[in-house]
Amino acid sequence: MRISLRGLTKRFGAALAVDGLSLDVRPGELVSLVGGSGCGKTTTLRMIAGFERPDAGQILFDDRVVNGVPPRRRNVGIVFQSYALFPTMTVADNIAFGLRVAHWPEPKLRARVAEMVALTHLGGLEGRYANQLSGGQQQRVALARALARRPEVLLLDEPLSALDAKIRLRLRGELRRIQQDLGITAVYVTHDQEEALSIADRIAVMRAGRIEQIGGPEEIYARPQTEFVADFVGISNLLACRVVSAANGVVDWEGERLRVPLAPGADGAVIVSIRPEKLSVGTDAAADRNRLQGVLEVVTFLGPFVRLEVTVHGRPFWVDVPTERATALERRKPLTLAFVPADCVVLPEGAPAVP
């Protein structure tokens, strides 16, 4: 099923939670809404589920407007951040709840519960209560319960945020596998941009009730369109520059001339974004590189690579280099950073990014 949001707006008192948001989720697609707290991502999800009524705009399932349809008639499965498992019921009764409410005949119901238990690897736990399950198991029960009624849409509200890092990674993969196997349209809310990049077909980066940019993971990462997206997704070194020559692609940053890919006719202030892995350390002689002289401050070991903090003109730069090439580096010593102009992304100067 296709979900279409058309100019959705929601206010809570004076606060504008969602501001004229439009979005299409294609059948079988997983779209992630990602943003900081208060950006309106959960409110959007709750409007799709029917728990909040939009003040303006339309929600369409395929071509049907569902604005006035109460939550229990939307046939939408939802996994809550707190899981919201019924503590008075066993795992099996939790999964069967929606089926009982819909008066499924008992044999069919039992078969469906068994199917869901198998799908979510909960075998042997059917008789347990929520407080006898680990966090990861509770999460899978919540998913099984949401999917049991064969909903046409699956909504996930920070489904992994309460879990340990390792389990989170494993369940992320499992969630994605189940969603793709079932071919169910899904909306996935998270504040964790890395999680969004890894699980979603497309990512909608939200800010102040609007979608700042929407696109596939590679697109969002490699070609951010605003300073906010460049800063929020992954790690970026953002330089506030001034255009010197649009024709030659030259900007000025703190008195340094840098060559970057500029659009013809660019003028005034721009932001240049460089990912840490696009910066290299050393004095290799290739002529097409930009070079900056800095001082190494901190070296952080991160397994396959190390992250350096290098100060250039009083501003810290993040630089990722392979671990085996970092052995010769010494703190407090000057070094040269180099980067290829094509690896820079030039953004219009925008409002300051929300941390």
Binding site: F51, I78, F80, S82, F86
Partner: protein, 549 residues
């Protein structure tokens, strides 16, 4: 650097000494009186005997009294918990208007003498009652009906608070999940919301049952000829000076109460569902109109009726002669019907302040020793401190007379017997509140103080106590209110020249001066509400909470 070993040694000895002191106090003022009662009930001229118990159960009148109280407590409990459930649900899980008012009215009995409700019902439905007299009915509320109705309004707060906590802390996502899975409002209510409240309901029922079984004020005022053990114990001590029978009946009364207490603590207590987890939200789903309006009518009706009941007390104090002369007058405030005048109220204030100060210090100290120092036998301390929750006030009263009318602890005839009875009878709620407050404080805060070189005393005074000020004031208010309004234990312990306001109200009703009783009741209400508001103003708003029973 680690603190030197002797540092730990001084800690151990000083906390052991404190624990010992608390133990001595609890044994003296909780266990000893109960043992005296138990002993007297089985002491015969020639050693131990069960003769008193045989006499009790062979007397159909006395056995009847026990059946009476079980019947009254069962009916009162069922109705109280049902009403509390409806009100708690309406206030915490729906979007009805006027929730604050309903909540306020449900909690009002917490700060009033327990039998003011009875007095109000007598003004409405008594022999000269507004309704009965006005309609010329040949019926009055005295007896079973009166006790049940009065107990519902008196003992609603603990049940209401408990259920409002259970329902109010429920993760709203649970109801949303049910709705998302296709359940309608009634299915959600039945299958999710109420099934979560089941342990809370059991707990509320057991607590209210104990309160109804041990209730003294309502039965003696509105019970008429319907006797219950609490009032029978009183008349045997005061009327016949028969302490052996009174002790026997006390022990018999303790049994069902202790049973209910143990059930609640060890059985129900282990069954509550914790539903608040990370990401839980408290917001409430909009209530469908079919549910919203009936609930609004019931809740608002109840709240308004409670308001009327409490308005009747000041009103009754201003009417010249209730039932016949409705003109307004201040003559009841001259207290001409009693030689004591309004002075019993002043004695009540003295008792309340002393009980407040001493009780607060002891409760905090006991809680600190139990929760943080964990000396050997901490469980014993805790059990002793909480035991009075299962003890009827009348038993405390009888026990204190038996225990403290002989040296070395000759307390009868002094204000101290009243103070200790209030402090230790009301100890459980205060200690639990302090323990819970301590549990909220990360022990690492104290460890930090110790690691920085602070000793045990300095840590408590400089670090722990400032974090407990809100709790301390709440506990003070709790003891203060109980000092002002309690009647069942202190009625045995007052002495000539030192009557108390709450007991004076009873005297005035018995002597046929309901107007004067209302005047005394009004004064007590004003003092209690005034003191709570004053403390809140001094300490700052919400830091002073009214503790539940």
């Amino acid at each position: 650097m680690a603190p030197p070993p002797w540092c730990y040694c001084t800690n151990v000895t000083s906390s052991t000494r404190t624990a010992g002191g608390v133990l001595v106090l609890l044994v003296t003022f909780v266990l000893w009186p109960v043992l005296k009662v138990l002993w007297l009930s089985v002491a015969g001229a020639a050693g131990l005997t069960l003769a008193n118990y045989e006499a009790f159960f062979s007397s159909s009148r006395l056995a009847r009294i026990l059946v009476n109280s079980l019947a009254v407590a069962t009916v009162s409990t069922a109705l109280t918990v049902l009403i509390a459930l409806v009100l708690a649900y309406a206030v915490t899980r729906t979007t009805i208007p006027g929730k604050r008012f309903v909540s306020l009215m449900a909690l009002l009995p917490l700060i009033s003498p327990p039998f003011l409700v009875s007095l109000a019902f007598i003004l409405l439905f008594g022999r000269n009652g507004l309704v009965t007299h006005g309609l010329g009915l040949d019926w009055s509320i005295y007896g079973f009906t009166g006790i049940v109705v009065a107990q519902i309004f008196t003992f609603l707060p603990p049940a209401y608070i408990l259920l409002a906590n259970v329902l109010g802390n429920m993760d709203a996502a649970l109801e949303e999940a049910a709705e998302n899975l296709g359940a309608g409002p009634l299915t959600t209510l039945r299958r999710v919301t109420l099934s979560l409240a089941r342990p809370g309901l059991a707990s509320a029922a057991l607590i209210v049952f104990i309160l109804c079984m041990t209730d003294f004020g309502n039965p003696i005022l509105i019970g008429g000829r319907y006797n219950v053990p609490a009032t029978e114990i009183y008349s045997q001590v005061i009327g016949m000076n028969d302490f052996a029978s009174a002790s026997t009946m006390s022990v018999i009364l303790i049994v069902p109460c202790l049973l209910a207490y143990v059930l609640n603590t060890y059985w129900v207590g282990s069954r509550s569902y914790v539903t608040v987890t990370a990401g839980a939200r408290a917001a409430v789903r909009p209530t469908p109109p079919a549910l919203r309006w009936p609930l609004t009518v019931v809740a608002a009706g109840f709240a308004l009726f409670t308001a009327v009941i409490y308005a009747l007390i000041p009103l009754g104090s201003l009417v010249r002669l209730w039932g016949s002369d409705w003109s307004l007058s201040l003559k009841h405030y001259t207290f001409a019907s009693t030689a004591e005048g309004p002075w019993p109220i002043w004695n009540s204030v003295k008792l309340a302040v002393l009980a407040g100060l001493i009780g607060t210090v002891l409760a905090l100290l006991t809680a600190y020793v139990i929760e943080r120092k964990r000396p050997p036998g901490a469980r014993v301390l805790e059990s002793l401190g909480l035991l009075p929750a299962a003890l009827p006030g009348t038993v405390i009263g009888v026990g204190y007379i038996l225990a403290f009318n002989v040296p070395p602890l000759l307390l009868t005839g002094t204000v101290w017997i009243l103070v200790t009875s209030v402090v230790f009878w009301k100890f459980p709620v205060a200690v639990l509140a302090a323990i819970n407050a301590l549990k909220q404080i990360d022990p690492a805060v104290e460890e930090a103080a110790v690691s920085l070189g602070a000793g045990s005393v300095r840590t408590f005074v400089r670090v722990v106590l400032p974090l407990l000020t809100g709790t301390a004031f709440s506990i003070f208010v709790y003891f203060f209110i109980n000092g002002m309004v309690t009647v069942s234990a202190v009625i045995f312990l007052i002495f000539p020249g030192f009557n108390l306001g709450s007991v004076a109200i009873l005297n005035q009703v018995e002597n046929g001066y309901p107007g004067v009783a209302c005047a005394l009741g009004t004064l007590i209400l004003v003092i209690v509400i005034g003191a709570v508001l004053l403390l809140r103003a001094l300490v700052g708003g919400d830091r002073v909470a009214i503790l539940k029973v």
